[in-house]
Subunit: 350 residues, 4 copies
């Protein structure tokens, strides 16, 4: 029996990526592909690359029908738009994986502050499980509602967690951990705007929301704080790379004295043993091409003996491990499938 | 009377950029364009975009003839290759502007350690003036030999200097200042290698020499140390952007408490008043397109109230302000010209 | 006395390029920079790369004030929008250079057919001079109203004209001349739309308006027909290159038997002698980088002995020789200046 | 029983693509991956994106061992290098799929002329089957030696074949059919050279081998001549797109009068019915993103009523349908598998 999966918000970049990946998943049958703008159109007419034998159509958001006829519903909506939909879906028997940020922050007031919008009810926030499988698998397996992590948080948390768990960080009191992050343009979504115009982005590179104002900051701090058992502060600056996909976080971690590069690598390998999507290494040129098109997170570790800082280069495909792929990984766990089902593609090179 | 200018190493990216810029300089006459590989060829045959009315040719490196018939000689050679050439040129009456790293480090042992090659004589190292005009103009004006700064050091030093001079930094003891830097591919030079192949670079983004091993580190630390009057340590990670030109340094500076964003901007504006190439601002999206094709350094300042860190985004064109343009700016100072002569081009947009 | 120049439509890509080029023109003073959307804003605030000492502002379209206080007015408006503006401006004493397509087609009915919009009055159409200086300089010099050519027509006409004038074409009766053209994305304008989104254009290449429906077709056919003294039909397919600037037309011309490659090159060189912006050659790899940033048109000629076809590769910067640079070249002619005034920039490489 | 497949020339772009695709093929087991330069190295150490559970190594070219232990051998060598290898392999019982051009031209003298190198023996040339499955499936099924088509020929032949077969072309006597083709950079191979340097290719677009001198011309003419039953001449100009993958041929076909666009589309659909990799349509913007990463050939048809020309836009991924994917499609036919086995990936978008 295949898992019946529906997608609400199926025509944005993460929605389309869910279609592409679920279409090739051996245990899934696509059910509803909701896109109000394109309701009634063949998927293959709007997206010629999805012109498959199955000949799917986009449909309208009939929540009740979707909930009753789906085993799992993916929500690939802009933030603030999932709150109502989840409130309704939760009444039914389907599992819910929300790719927006609406259920990631446990503290409703914190959500209100960063998103300038009322949070979901506290009971729903409590019920939501933060879906980063390498760290939270046990909870994910029994969850009904998954808050699928953001792209920057995924790369950042996976890159830092082993240091926290092994108490190797030695950050000066009242100082933040520096995360310098870079993302491809698909992270900005499909709706055209002046900042995604080809002529503005190509031949360019920019920082944005510098000075600690990006909305992924509270999410990263929350999850690292849970791991640390205390408040955790980061200094986070995102940048835009002139490529469609891929995301790199360069993390500057002051570590305890007298630990060697080898010990650190062993610590990471041990933390992530049995995690097939995590690759630990120390490459001369850690890059994005190695992960684009895959659900992998490549973590390259570089200890600077001069300074005692560990430079962590954490790289993912923002639309796969940073969104739709991780959502499917969560689904696999929720349905008792091998974590890698439908997620074994190798990177296209060159 | 025009300044007679020669270029040794005229067919690499910085050499070609010197030709382009000097060809349009109102006070300069190009004399020798030395390129052993292309000696005898018309410049316009090798580089169709330099097919100008002047119809220049590349020539062989006859140091004596060059020195005797030039007012200034630019050396655009790979590192370690300028040492011998400068030793000879210095015997003559011409001024010398060396774009390599061979005369940047004052301490010969430090050079030997980072470049694995014997340094130039200490007397030549002592004679060389580090050519960053916004900080060192007085010395540049009376110099005979200029060590033209590296691209990463230019963006980094210009971004940090006002903080040091105004004693606004508050770095924890024994911790480095974090500089996360990103450069276009022309910084890797013109000789093809697997890491500059289009198929490897495009659609990609990579870190390299992570862990504090890039050769621009001692140069940045030396110059910031001079400004600070004490040792200065940085944590520096370079990255490769899939664009031909442009360089950004994102600097994470813990600053003294109780200083406001406005005060910081005023401090920078004051430090750089009368410096026409430095633009101080606080842009929502500081980028490279604004500086590519210009000799400008754009410095965007972002104070994070949560953490007390100042994020400094310093952006240049690596081949102009980071190399050939700055070399001409130095020449202008050495010959008593306005600093902006021949360097007033606006950025091409889009 | 400097020429007082105003620009209506100063914030689009061709308008901004006019500002950049005219700002550096030794004989021009910028007067009004009209942009309704940005009226009152400093140009440098909207376009940081135009943050010059002159500190220009955008203004509202007060046609009377503009006409009375300008020697020349450039119209950089979308097609159909110049008709009214020109009708008013023509009442005054200023010269007018229109960069839209509204005055290019001599036949109003033809305009109506291709643009689905009523044409300008026949008297204005008659008065307008098609502004391709290498072919039409005498008329341009005494013109009041210039219809500045389209980008595709510029590259196409310059590439084909010498063959027509020397009666070297041998096209089978009732067959068209094939022009396969490729343009950078700035040709699509600054307003964001799904087809200019970075994620759609990067890593991609597309054809559009295939099957002979692009609006530059009647313009090219009109001008080549005038040169030929009879109707002239082309088969024209435009494509989109994932670069911001640059345009190439690959032209497939059946030529008379028994003419050699050398004779053809001589014929082109003779046709364009004294034309400083036209470069005639036969390069192994005719490309766009050689012309981007310049007002040049590079024409590379390749006779195929097997087939008797001449392959003509005609390359320009679509925003300079294909729009704003050519407009300034026309202005230079109209005001008795050397044609190259303000247009001598070399291409930036790499 | 899985097919034992070996690759000679496994570290170039087509070799690596064969590894990626065959690794995911349900009926194949990879046997020898020959790369002299990398013999003994783990594939995953050279290509981190191929760091799979199977942990393959590169090996030396022991032809006898390979032939005896493989059901099929793929040769992904530069042209002229397959001749000797095939001469040896043919003595054994394995099937051979050669991705070079060494066995594509049936006429040895023709090969000698275009490749400046002695051809393979006529008996081997006679034995080789040109491997374009949509046209030649019956012969492929019983072949021992496949000459896998070139990338430009694949897109060109698939785009033109239905017109020839249905006698719809109406080309003037002694005139060629114009094919204007554009390819991504991976077609130039993995070895770095000045023409594949990122700084030369990015922001650029170039024509090369204009004037009818590209080596794919005789291959296209041979195959179209076979279909036509008479000599067939093309005018072919390749161009380089600044993208790693993808290839488009824009074909200018004069067709018989009184045929409609609908009839033409029907004719193509009929010709390619049951061919799952061929998509026939008439898109407003036929592009490459729709095919990159797939084994598809998208053919978009545009009849120009004004001229009677049919514009055919034929698009493929040059490394898949233009090389390694088509090789696997041939293998599938030779071993009685469904043609689509291992080749069902959808395009990655965006």
């Amino acid at each position: 029996m295949k898992i019946k999966a529906s997608i609400i918000g199926a025509s944005g970049y993460t929605g389309v990526e869910l279609i592409r990946l679920l279409n090739a998943h051996p245990n899934v049958k696509l059910q509803y592909l909701v896109s109000e703008n394109n309701a009634g159109s063949k998927v293959g007419d709007i997206y010629p690359h999805l012109d498959t034998a199955d000949n799917y159509s986009f449909s309208n958001p009939d929540i009740e029908a979707i909930a009753k006829n789906s085993d799992v519903v993916f929500l690939a909506l802009p933030h603030t738009k999932s709150i109502t939909a989840v409130s309704k879906l939760i009444e039914y028997n389907c599992k819910i994986i929300d790719l927006s940020s609406d259920f990631r922050l446990k503290n409703g007031a914190n959500y209100q502050k960063w998103y300038q919008h009322p949070a979901a009810s506290q009971s729903l926030l409590d019920q939501a499980v933060y879906g980063i499988p390498e760290i939270n698998a046990a909870n994910i397996k029994r969850a009904t509602l998954i808050a699928n992590p953001g792209c920057y948080p995924t790369a950042s948390i996976l890159g830092i967690a082993p240091l926290i768990k092994n108490q190797l960080l030695d950050i000066p009191l009242n100082h933040p951990l520096v995360i310098d992050a870079k993302s491809g343009v698909s992270g900005a979504g499909k709706t055209p705007n002046p900042h995604t115009h080809f002529c503005e982005v190509s031949n360019n590179f920019s920082a944005y929301q510098a000075g600690g104002i990006h909305r992924h900051i509270p999410e990263i701090e929350q999850e690292l704080g849970i791991l640390a058992g205390k408040d955790f502060t980061i200094q986070f600056t995102p940048h835009l790379i002139p490529i469609p996909r891929g995301l790199m976080a360069t993390i500057y971690a002051p570590v305890k004295k007298n630990i060697s590069q080898t010990e650190i690598i062993d610590c990471y390998k041990s933390f992530y043993q049995h995690q097939e999507f995590i690759k630990i290494n120390s490459l001369p040129r850690p890059d994005l091409k190695t992960v684009i098109g895959t659900n992998n997170c490549n973590i390259s570790l570089h200890l600077d003996q001069r300074t005692g800082y560990l430079i962590i280069i954490s790289a993912i495909d923002n639309l796969i491990k940073g969104a739709s792929g991780q959502a499917i990984q969560n689904m696999n766990l929720m349905f008792g499938l091998p974590e890698t089902s439908g997620l074994t593609q190798l990177a296209i090179y060159p």
